[in-house]
Symmetry: C2
Subunit: 256 residues, 2 copies
């Protein structure tokens, strides 16, 4: 049987420990092509590079393995991957393992998840994996079995068209992970706290700080699952339509 | 009665004709604070600047009017706006008028719409306006009444919490606009066509081109409305959960 072709990307750069872990795991499942970001591209959302400046450089290769570094965003990485570098569509795109949660409102800022969403828009199975810990030296070893099992399931059963998975893991604690919950994205927001600081040239600029505020305390959310030591899995789409409000908006049709 | 406070932003830079038109219209409705992008920030999605490099410079002011230019993304503009520059939350955030459609799959790449979505996450009424024409010198004059009427309605009646409006106008043609349709976002995608070119320093890089492919031919979509000379209005949210697939994903709960 032909090995599945797995495209691996992330937004924390090629150096990130989470990416290296994901590569190591994916190598046990198929032919792996890595296209990771040259720079840290956290919070780049679904940004793409429309100026003619993109490059993708082969930095490593071996049996059933190629690794490229791309100077663009995570979405650029997947686009360049299967629309330029690869001669066939991958069977799966995996993104991560992100250093930091992409649950709840974080998903919309996340480069890691944008890469997975982009692939799903092209009908490719895709999963974003994230750990609820920003530490550059975070411990990912407790995730091996979970990541392998979820990935094998997706390779075998596929996902509905246009859907990817947003999988978030709780930070390693004294207790083992309790299990996995299929969730909806919690409604939350970041409130920024800006302060003035000096930039590299001595000019005044703004430094961003922030507080994550989640007033959505229902038990069916990804935020709740993570806080209770469960893995959260949210089926995620690129459709932003608030369908429940379409009828309520019909008043605008009658104005004109 | 106190005038409403309206924050105006965009992603095509402070110079854009669409922004200038939107400012001119909003000045007739309230106190206006403009925080626009210094550079063209098209396709920057929901990207934010997490390095300490942001600046916002006052470039113009007058009665009930202030205009700032920010060196960040459209989402940075709104965050810096009401979390740093303004002493109260705006009654409305309007973004645009974008040079180019933000209907269908475009919404997820759009900086213009990301600014509106960001405001909606903070409970602020928000509208993104876009014209289905990329021309820098596009004609926006046929839109005045539509934009004013929609904006007045939102100022008066508000929007549901967490929802903003994605309003797209057809390009000016020989026939007048037929009306407005409340729609869902069409499922579509961009297929990129990369080609090699020289960058500024003579190195080889990739140039992005693309083709918009919409296989979603239903009549209730924004894509359909625009193509038939209607304004499209999509209630838009930050929740990416594919709720219809939550039950189907429960199998993952039983694995562990």
């Amino acid at each position: 049987m032909k090995k599945p072709l797995i495209l691996v990307t992330n937004d924390d750069s090629y150096k990130a420990k989470g990416l290296r872990k994901l590569i190591e795991l994916m190598k046990t499942l198929g032919e792996v092509v890595v296209i990771s970001t040259e720079q840290v591209m956290s919070a780049k959302g679904h940004s793409i590079t429309i100026t003619p400046t993109l490059t993708a450089t082969l930095v490593d290769s071996g049996p059933d393995y190629k690794e490229y570094v791309c100077n663009g965003t995570p979405v650029d990485c997947v686009k360049v991957g299967y629309q330029w570098l690869l001669d066939r569509l991958p069977d799966l795109v995996v993104s991560g393992i992100n250093h930091g949660s992409n649950a709840s409102a974080n998903v919309i800022y996340s480069g890691t998840m944008a890469a997975a969403i982009e692939a799903s828009m092209d009908g490719i199975n895709a999963i974003g994996f994230s750990l609820d810990c920003y530490d550059l030296d975070a411990d990912f070893d407790h995730l091996d079995d979970y990541i392998l099992t979820i990935t094998k399931d997706v390779l075998q059963n596929g996902l509905p068209k246009g859907i990817c998975l947003n999988v978030n893991f709780p930070k390693r604690g004294p207790e083992p992970i309790k299990g996995l919950k299929v969730c909806r994205q919690a409604f939350a927001r970041w409130v920024e706290i800006f302060s003035e600081c000096q930039d590299e040239r001595g000019g005044t600029c703004l430094k961003i700080g922030g507080e994550f505020i989640c007033e959505d305390n229902a038990e069916d959310t990804d935020h709740y699952a993570l806080k209770h030591n469960y893995i959260s899995l949210v089926p995620t789409q690129s459709d932003l339509t608030a369908k429940q409000y379409i009828e309520g908006m019909r008043r605008f049709e009658h104005i004109f």
